[in-house]
Symmetry: C2
Subunit: 271 residues, 2 copies
């Protein structure tokens, strides 16, 4: 089991920011990544649809004998974590609990902001976790639907992006939040713009980083961690656009992505 | 056959602008609409994926005994028209040929602009049609990926939208195009902003309007048009988010959408 890979999935390329943190913090581990590029984005879709997509992907990853599954997508974490935990016989780790925990630890004035897709924000999942972890905290959530397409346009430091960020974030700034969860895997790429708009005193929480830490702890506790380094060949699968994915992956990962394979994910509808 | 409905499909709500034109220009006809809201958007996906999605939808529509199919989506028109024409035994009408024809007729200086999603623009389909229709015309195409999310934010007349439109359109303006195809079904909703940025001398071509005209002609030629008006109950189906769809449909259609049903569209994978 220690030799087995870690399955990581996302609606598309965003989850590569989580894969990157895992590669940095757990260099001995092999990753099997699936990006659902044919059905991206998840943020605007319903709970039932996200559960059904996530189930197909978990079934696919289990055909690769993974020893753990990381849901590297906030929307899928919000909607499908309970289902996957119930149906998979390996540990399932989401990005929300680690992000919420870090935000609860970071705040000093007990005012926490959350930004994410419409799906993540409307699910209320971060607020729910935070109410349990830190009942005294006030939590303010705001959906920022233009952030993902702005990242995809690569307008990361653009005046238009700053203007849009100012509009989206002014309310959270007004409430005086001192920690802000980047509750969508694309958002760390807008980190500098968001920090500039919010001010240096606000601590930005990156759930990707926290998730890799949690994964490390879980693998060690269950004695599933790979003990020795070997030259792992991570595997990458998508449901569409393999070449575009590969080129993006190579631009952000610390390893060379040699090939990406397309999977007909709808085929994994029955277990 | 004259009594049968017209099948109309799109990746989501955008095709409702086409359904609206059909309702206005062919008031006797009944529409069965399918919006693929679980897999929206199509604009960034590959040809193979779009063909496979469109095939499933055409199969679904044919279970409703439609007498014609309208592909009310530019990306699906660009990628799947030939396949559906081959595989369906009813007439299949796309949005691109009618839009290209209108642009060819509208231009006086033979400089035509096309705006659309990355998929539509990269397919080169409008340029291809226009090269056949009007070989002497110069065609300039530009992808505007932020326009759809801006429409979905309802920032139709916003200063940010004007700024982004100015950036996207400055090149086309520089080339001096005198007709501009709104090559994505969401774009007619940005018509005022686009007209303002391009100037009043530029004619905006709305393929939705032209498509309804083409459908009318095809039905008459094939003696498939419904001759008398009756109180049609249009039917609406989606792959996700029925309630959200219904509320949007009611905001733009001239009829009352009473119910919208969710279809598991992946089930229509085999004929």
């Amino acid at each position: 089991m220690r030799e087995d890979a870690i399955g990581v999935f996302d609606s598309g390329v965003g989850g590569l920011t989580v894969a990157r943190e895992i590669m940095n913090q757990l260099p001995n581990e092999k990753i099997v990544y699936f990006g659902d590029t044919a059905r991206v984005p998840y943020g605007s879709k319903s709970k039932d649809t996200i559960i059904s997509f996530s189930r197909q992907i978990a079934r696919f990853l289990q055909t690769k004998n993974v020893k753990a599954i990381v849901i590297a997508c906030n929307t899928a974490s919000a909607f499908a974590l309970e289902t996957l935990k119930k149906e998979c016989d390996v540990p399932v780790i989401d990005v929300i609990a680690p992000g919420a925990r870090a935000a609860a630890n970071a705040t000093k004035n007990n005012k926490i902001g959350i930004i994410g897709t419409i799906g993540t924000v409307n699910s209320g999942i971060y607020s729910q976790y935070l109410r349990e972890k830190k009942p005294e905290a006030l939590v303010y959530a705001k959906a920022c639907p233009l952030f993902v397409p702005l990242v995809e346009e690569n307008w990361l430091y653009d005046s238009v992006t700053i203007e849009i960020a100012e509009r989206y974030l002014s309310e959270l700034k007004g409430y005086g939040v001192d920690s802000l969860v980047l509750g969508c895997t694309h958002y760390p790429l807008l980190r500098h713009t968001i920090q500039k708009v919010m001010g240096e005193q606000v601590e930005l929480v990156n759930p990707a980083y926290e998730t890799a830490l949690t994964l490390k702890r879980v693998l060690e506790e269950k004695e599933l961690n790979q003990l020795e380094w070997k030259d792992n060949h991570h595997e990458f699968y998508v449901s569409d656009g393999a070449e575009q994915f590969r080129s993006f992956a190579n631009s952000i990962l610390p390893c060379n992505v040699v090939e990406t394979n397309v999977v007909n994910i709808e085929m994994y509808d029955r277990g």
